[in-house]
């Protein structure tokens, strides 16, 4: 491996995310639900770490906590050596970008594609420069030029996801958190997007945190994988290790479900 900086790019220690008890018309839930229960992991610059687990295992809550949309009730997060919390997240926004499962919902329906991508550029940039750079990003993401003036509703699901990728790169992100980025698409589109992600990662040296329940795509894209269940990490290791020597029944089940030949 090449020269690593002294610390990992992203470090999460004993993260706890709870949803507080709430009362709805008098029905009180006495116990908080721990969506993320003492989770710790690190992501090294340039690697692709996958978080695999079934729906409700806490994967999305981790994403939201890292991005500052949800306040953890416990634990610590650090990005590039600096503590990540609600106050410091503003500084790192441009460096970590989310790619959500529902690409359509992640795009402003009243904003044209070219402008949506351009929103990632520094505000001082002149309009024609923005256009040139946005078109370039669109090209790299596999979007035809004439979509610059299109609205999200005119695009297919796969194309919308490409727009989201282009937008994330427009702001110069070095790390992407992808939450089930492909599962809403057809298989053939999934393959296209996977190829795109692989190429972008190679060209730009991206660090990826990939969240998925689909072991087959994870297997191809990720270096390491964390298996989550009920808010906890139950197994971790490199892809090769987990697939050949799963330690937990759950991991074995996931492998079997994915139809992977050992």
């Amino acid at each position: 491996m090449e020269n690593q900086s002294a610390h990992p790019l992203l470090s999460v220690k004993n993260l706890i995310v709870e949803y507080p008890p709430h009362s709805f018309f008098g029905r009180v839930k006495p116990v908080s639900r721990r969506a993320v229960d003492q989770v710790s992991f690190e992501v090294v610059k340039g690697e692709t770490l996958a978080l695999v687990g079934e729906s409700g295992s806490g994967k999305t809550s981790i994403t939201m906590a890292i991005l500052g949309f949800v306040t953890p009730t416990g634990g610590k997060m650090e990005f590039d050596g600096v503590e990540l919390n609600e106050m410091t997240i503003a500084k790192f926004r441009s460096r970590i970008q989310p790619i959500f499962q529902d690409a359509g919902a992640a795009l402003n329906p009243q904003m044209k594609i070219g402008r949506a991508i351009g929103d990632g550029f520094p505000p001082g940039l002149p309009a024609d420069q923005k256009r040139i750079r946005a078109l370039e990003l669109m090209k790299n993401a596999g979007l035809a030029e004439n979509y610059y003036d299109a609205y999200p509703r005119q695009l297919s699901g796969g194309q919308k996801q490409r727009v989201c990728l282009a937008r994330a790169l427009a702001v110069g992100a070095g790390m992407l958190i992808l939450d089930e980025p492909f599962s809403a698409q057809d298989i053939s589109i999934q393959v296209q997007l996977m190829h795109l992600l692989r190429d972008l990662k190679a060209a730009l040296g991206l660090t990826l945190l990939l969240i998925s329940h689909d072991l087959t795509t994870v297997r191809l894209l990720a270096d390491r994988i964390l298996v989550m269940r009920a808010g906890k990490i139950i197994e971790s290791g490199t892809i090769a290790d987990i697939i050949s020597r799963p330690q937990t029944d759950y991991a074995r089940e996931l492998i079997r479900q994915a139809g992977i030949k050992p």
């Binding site: 079934e54 053939s188 089940e253 996931l254 992977i260």
Partner: protein, 267 residues
């Protein structure tokens, strides 16, 4: 498995006036008690086909061809998919439908059990509980009293299945039922469908793009591309000897995934 067809689609063509056709020359049959899967890309017309089978196409579509449905008493009815009213008696009682995003179709302010029992005359609680048991819930009381947001994805999908089966239909159409579910919930769901099929002779038409489960879940396979059926037949045979380039590339992807290799890009 030769069973008499319970539904046959004859020369179905659907188009939007002024635009190219959405469905062209659709012909297929559903043998009773079997599971038929339809695979194809977004935009190939799968969803329009499901709507046509339920007479849910809007008036602006121009439709030709017909659908013949056999019923329990051996009578065959032939219907024109463009005539929405003629399907009224069928929906729910002879043909049931399960959507892709069931959680969104549930009323968020009503308990689940109430939403199921409301489908029965005199809000039959027992019937609702029976249905919940049928779809594999071990703790039917708890689910009965739950609100939709308290259910997991897999549970919500099963509730959707219960709702679809409430009218005891003979044919069930499921449209991408498991895309929102993770692999384990997905497998469980298809196993449940199979179990119901064996127990009650349900005929299932399944729209999906998930190749993983096809081989296990489906008896027959229909491949659609650009509004046409490009291949159909016994599931195993089609998968082993794909004729159409689209089917072949899908299989190539599936094979690559299973072996841990990068599939080629399709265009």
């Amino acid at each position: 498995m030769s069973h008499p067809p319970i539904l046959s689609v004859n020369n179905l063509n659907v188009a939007l006036p002024g635009a190219r056709g959405i469905l062209s020359d659709i012909n297929f049959v559903l043998p009773a008690g079997s599971t038929t899967a339809i695979i194809g890309e977004s935009g190939c017309g799968k969803t329009t086909l499901c709507k046509a089978l339920l007479g849910l196409l809007g008036r602006k579509f121009s439709v030709s061809g017909n659908i013949t449905i056999g019923s329990r008493d051996g009578l065959n009815t032939t219907l024109n998919p463009g005539d929405s009213d003629s399907f009224c008696n069928l929906r729910g009682t002879q043909i049931g439908l399960l959507f892709q995003e069931t959680p969104l179709t549930l009323n968020p302010v009503l308990r689940v059990g109430r939403q199921i029992s409301d489908l029965f005359a005199s809000s039959d609680r027992r019937a609702a509980l029976q249905l919940l048991e049928l779809v594999g819930f071990p703790e039917t009381e708890r689910i009965y009293r739950a609100y939709p947001h308290e259910l997991s994805g897999g549970q919500a999908q099963r509730v959707g299945l219960a709702l679809a089966l409430a009218g005891r239909p003979e044919i069930l159409i499921v449209d991408e039922p498991a895309t929102a579910l993770d692999s384990i919930a997905r497998q469980d769901f298809f196993k449940l469908l199979r179990k119901l099929q064996i127990e009650s002779g349900l005929t299932i038409l399944m729209v999906t793009h998930d190749l993983h489960t096809l081989a296990v879940a489906a008896d027959r396979l229909i491949v659609m591309f650009a509004g046409r059926i490009v291949e159909q037949g016994d599931c195993q045979s089609v998968l082993e000897h794909p004729a159409h380039p689209y089917t072949r590339s899908l299989l190539q992807i599936e094979r690559a995934f299973r072996n841990g290799q990068w599939p080629e890009e399709m265009h």
